[in-house]
Amino acid sequence: MSPGRPDKSNTGVMEWLNDRYPIKAWQDFAKKKKVPLVHGTIWYYFGGVTLFLFIIQVLTGILLLFYYRTGSDQAYESVKFLMTKVHFGWLIRSIHSWSANLMVLSAFIHMFSVFFTRAYRKPRELTWITGMILLLLALAFGFSGYLLPWNQLAFFATKVGTDIVGVVPGIGDFMLTLLRGGHEVTGATLSRFFGFHIALFPGIFTLILVVHLALIQIQGMSHPMGMEGKEAEMKTMPFFPNFVMRDLLLWLIVLNVLAILAVYFPWELGQKADPFASAPAGIRPEWYFMFMFQSLKFLPAHILGFEGEILGIMTFGIAGLLWMFVPFFDRSSLRGVKSRKITYIGILIVMFIIAMTILGYILS
């Protein structure tokens, strides 16, 4: 700050706040915080985009709650009313649905960018694990929210999805009953999913998000591999305001993309769920579950004496756990070396997910 000019930060509201809270310390922290300016800086923005989309989810979700009524006899009608009679109701619902999908996509990109840059390595293991939990919760948000309009596609997709949970050995039957509130997908399932979607998941998600963000603030942004101890040679930019401004710019672009998607591809409601109707053709889950769904379809009925579907679910479960704890397996990253094996595994997984998703859409 140039001498002679009054310190605006110490006037008015800021002075009042400074007298009571350590605002100055936070300001100094933000000014000192640096973001590495390297070849892959673009990937740093996806965490922020995911956070922005989550904020949109919360805001539009609250607006939807003004009109949404749960229960198999009211849910569909209330969403229809919202979309046809309420001013901008169609926009709020479309933005909510589109931002949910973009949030999952952004979270996946964020996760893989962290994986390939090995940003999960010591000391950020817990940041990675909390991030993984947030991604799983985002998927759970998607699965539970999909049923809430109580339309035909959502009803049967939920039936198929919960059927898959039901075949997990040991706890499958319990989980199935817990999720459905009985043996079938009914109004009881809808009530439960509504509770999960607007109370349980947001509560857990917010707690873990706070921990995730706090860890990032405490430990700072991860530096590229091999730059440890060479911070002085590394180009950086201040987190505030330079990086935050860039974040804002990207958020504006994402907001515009959301508006375009909502206007040109409004989220359809379809037909009301009819439990007695036969399943409509081409039942498939949301795109982010497609790779698992398609993989399970490819598996033969029996593999080495085990039921194919159970073995597939167990494999996905174990693979997910290994993925979550990869910071503890990847010893070479601790030595500042990128393991080729880990990179190849990552590439294979990305290719597998993309290939199975495309196949899922082509074959259905």
Binding site: K80, M83, T84, W90, L91, M237, P241, N242, M245, R246, L248, L249, L252, I253, L255, N256, A259, I260, V263, P266, L269
Partner: protein
Amino acid sequence: MKLPIFIVFAGIAFSGIVYAQNDAPQNSCVSCHEMMGAPYDSLVHAQQADIHGKNGITCTDCHGGNSTSMDYEVAMSPAAGFRGKPKPKDIPELCGKCHANPDYMKQYDPGLRVDQLTEYHTSQHGQLLKKGDTKVAQCVSCHGAHGIYPANVPLSSVYPVNVPETCGKCHADEKYMADYNIPTDQYAQYKTSVHGRDLLEKKDLGAPACNDCHGNHGATPPGLTSIARVCGTCHVNNQKLFQKSVHKKIFDMMDMPECITCHGNHGIQVPSDSMIGTTEKSICMECHGQGDAGYIVAQTMSNAIDSLKQIYHHSEDLIQQASEKDMDVSDLKFELRDVRQNLIQTRTMIHSFDTTQVLDIQQKGMKVGTDLVASAKDLISEYYFRRKGLVVFTLVITILAVLLYIKIRQLD
């Protein structure tokens, strides 16, 4: 006796000796007729497969004789009650022996009718048969003799889809019908009619065949006064409205048949809106003319239908346009069905020939139609509003983004 027939009978006699030495056959009629080959064997095969054969009715039940004897002279002897091929004049009574006997028929199906013979005697066919005319239809003419199936089996000659052809066998044959001085173009007309196309082409069993209007066992031409009742069996509302209308009395006075005066009979087509009104095509103008009360009524009713049709098609077009723009039109489509329903009701109400009643129904449809047009236009406007709104929003975001970018450049 001609040589081939002699050989056949000699063969039968010989086989009878062979059979007699073994176990006696259960039905000598079947055995012999099968051995005689075509066309005799097909009779027994058809009988064995039909409703009678399946229920244990044998040849002797109709033809008499003794089917347990392989000696044809014994089996087919008058002493054994053999009557050969029944004569047409005897057939109704022969069939009625069982079919008019409630106690006998109950054992097969308690729900079966047993009044066919009584009805037949009242029919035109029955009356003429009684007078000795053996050309007229009796049971066998329609149902066949061997190979009889219940009327609900598609193989049956009296299955609804087969009835017009069965009746047409005689009634469409000019030579056969020459003595009766009645038209023979009914079948040809019927095939082109709305009823005929539905029944014969679409296989819609709800469409009437000959017997649905003329009766079957009691078949007779509908009398002048009973025509509305015949049509009213299905077209209930039209019949009720017509009975109360001013036309009922006038038609009766002028000996004009009710429904068919305007709609025709065997060749009836789907009614068109041009049938009413004041144009040259209008049937109303065959009796009415400019200046009379009927002319004004016809004009009012025709205008009412035209304006309702117009608003129906207009709202349908607008809803389609809104739908193509991805707007939610499910509620509008539902309400559009109400307008269509009103249009159908207005067309039905024409049969009252009362403009007040016609306009009452029509106005309800017009109101729904007018509201629909407004709603569909609102949806189309909403579509353009969304796009314009997006343009404005994008513009604002772009300006903000550019300003932010300039600020970032300054900071860097």
